[in-house]
Amino acid sequence: MADMQQLYDAVLNGDANLARSVTEKAIEDGFPPKDLLDSYMIPAMDEVGRLFEEDEYFVPELLISARAMKSALEILRPLLAEGGVEPVGKVAIGTVKGDLHDIGKNLVAAMLEGGGFEVIDLGVDVGPEKFIAAVKEKGVQVVAMSALLTTTMPSMKTTLQEIQAAGIRDQVKVMVGGAPVTERYASEIGADAYSDNASAAVTIARSFVNG
């Protein structure tokens, strides 16, 4: 019998090999894939998020946990799909037009993946049309935009306006973040949420897809 506590620990400690082998064993033993995900892997990542917020983990620890989660998910994903289980949700993420900063964006992307989301990373310097295409063609439920410069923040507003103009504003929730961005700015430009850190971003994204 696979020891499921091991799977939890493997994700928590960022041991990708162990996470993968326990997962394989569990599948062999007939554990339902969805249970593995919901009862062990996501709770482990939630604990990772908590340890990070409580200043026990740094990002490197958090990222290796996310990698362990991801490598186990690679095994589960096809089985989940067969069983008709969708990912928690789909998020398109990118740094807005004119802005080349990707550290914060990458961190949020990793955390979202760790949280069970399917993440479409559009990269940096992303124009409104790419965000719109992700909604229209990939069916993402959440758009996450990042800006690190005061001079590129206006691109967030433009992107929101074009999402509106494309007639898809009601199909998608939009969250924004980045050093110069504020709660107030987010509400001024009509974003649905603002987050000042990566793990809060996951919580918000979850509330969007559950809400």
Binding site: D55, E56, F58, V59, P60, L100, I103, T150, T151, P154
Partner: protein
């Protein structure tokens, strides 16, 4: 890439001589600004508040810069600053369209000249074109439209009134960013000691050539995109402080390339590793700390000031505060900071050293990033760095020496570290042990890993 032929020596060899406002190789620039001859010079930098930069906003942008420089100059005159350095760091569109960058440079230079004529305000202007080469990934470092635009702006610098030319070069950043987030010191050393150093040799060759025969002085560079990224991530508790401290020291050899290629200083304000540059190369350095909290929170607010020659606010947006616009406020704060140091210097070298020591002691024990800026530590590590001959080996040694110094300081309780920081220090020490003696070996290793996808070897003169 041999660095020194003879048995190498530091430019500053004793703690006695390691002070604010004084350096072995002073610089005189602009309308008579002396840097490193006794007075610490305030360096003010400012930027736009949120605005889209395009044709239709350009006239508004011009008047915003005009407003900022006027406010700064008026306040400098009122507070009778002995000399003023203004830095203009272009925003990306102003390097991509170099005529825009040149226009603002000219506007600032004209206003400085006006206040010199009218009030005798002694000033100089530093132009720092934003390094736009990383706008595509993997970046082209020596060709392409971004390179062309940057080079064009360099070449315009002398004609549009820039007294100093600087850059925050980004070679190797495409590899370093992720390595910082994953705590991967090995790759950071590769980014700094191999890629950045090679890029800077090429880039600074071009900058020095461009300045040759003009009044524009090639000044300095900064490991901003590396060590300050690490510092900011550490402030946000994303990565360990010991890691950020090691990255800081490991960035020194990279910076030195600029001065070996002919840069004269002052170093860039945000190069907190400046004290090493001053000790080794003897050039004046610009530093920032407490008074640049508007741009960077840090744990080195006072110690950063200990051996500075210019003292900067890093950058502040043109926001209206209760008293005045933020750039004017920065000007005032820097003026008073410099007054204090300059009064101490004018008293006696003894008084200056005492003040320096207070600045050092105020921060050194509570944070590893501050500890490695302690002038005594700087001299100690610098001596080791210059024993090595290539930037790669210097970088390896720098990181190694930083770890060693931090471990000693922690053991002797000269430095307070949390348990999780100590654990990371051990982990990083182990990682260092496996770094190869030979640069070629490391290059080969990186080229055969995932890292290879992120950079183009030929852009760094690396032939596979």
């Amino acid at each position: 890439m041999p660095v020194a032929a003879n048995p190498p020596n530091l430019a500053i060899t004793t703690l006695e001589d390691f002070r604010f406002g004084l350096c072995p190789k002073p610089v005189v620039c602009g309308r008579g600004v002396e840097i490193g001859t006794g007075n610490v010079v305030p360096e003010v930098n400012f930027t736009l508040s949120p605005i889209d930069i395009n044709e239709s906003t350009w006239s508004e942008i011009r008047s915003e810069y005009q407003e900022m420089i006027e406010g700064v100059c008026e306040r400098a005159v009122d507070l009778e600053v002995p000399a003023l350095l203004v830095e203009f760091e272009t925003l990306p569109p102003m390097t991509v369209r170099p005529e825009w960058g040149a226009q603002i440079t000219q506007l600032l230079a004209d206003t400085l000249e006006k206040h010199f004529q009218k009030h005798g305000l002694i000033s100089a202007l530093r132009l720092t074109p934003n390094d736009t080469r990383d706008h595509i990934r993997p970046p082209l470092m020596r060709r392409g439209e971004y390179w062309d635009g940057m080079l064009d702006l360099f070449q315009r610098a002398p004609d549009c009134g820039a007294d100093l030319l600087a850059i925050e070069s980004t070679g190797g950043k495409e590899v370093c960013d992720e390595a910082l987030m994953t705590g991967d010191l090995r790759t950071v050393v590769f980014a700094l000691g191999v890629l950045a150093a090679r890029d800077m040799e090429f880039l600074w060759g071009e900058i020095v050539r461009t300045c040759h025969g003009t009044k524009t002085i090639p000044s300095g560079d900064t490991a901003c995109g590396f060590a300050n990224t690490a510092m900011v991530l550490a402030e946000q508790k994303m990565i360990p402080k010991v890691f950020a401290a090691i990255v800081r020291v490991a960035s020194v050899p990279r910076d030195l390339v600029a001065y070996r290629m002919g840069a004269k200083g002052p170093s860039k304000d945000c190069a907190y590793e400046g004290p090493y540059v001053k000790a080794i190369a003897g050039v004046p350095i610009s530093m920032e700390g407490r008074t640049s909290a508007c741009a960077h929170l840090s744990h080195v607010g006072n110690i950063a000031q200990a051996v500075c020659d210019c003292w900067s606010n890093e950058s502040v947006q043109n926001l209206r505060l209760l008293s005045a616009n933020a750039p004017t406020v920065s000007m005032e704060q820097l003026a008073y900071d410099c007054r204090l140091m300059n009064v101490a210097n004018s008293h006696s070298s003894e008084d200056a050293r005492r003040l320096r020591n207070l600045l050092v002691e105020s921060d050194a024990r509570s944070d590893p990033q501050a500890y490695v800026l302690d002038p005594a530590v700087v001299l100690k590590i610098s001596k080791k760095i210059i024993q090595e001959e290539s930037p790669y080996l210097q970088t390896r040694t720098a990181a190694h020496a930083a770890i060693e110094v931090l471990k000693e300081a922690t053991d002797s309780e000269e430095l307070r570290l949390s348990t999780r920081e100590k654990k990371w220090l051990d982990r990083l020490e182990k990682e260092m042990e496996s770094l190869p003696e030979s640069e070629e070996e490391l290059i080969e290793e990186m080229l055969s890993s995932d890292i290879a996808k992120k950079f183009i070897p030929g852009e760094y003169g690396i032939t596979a």
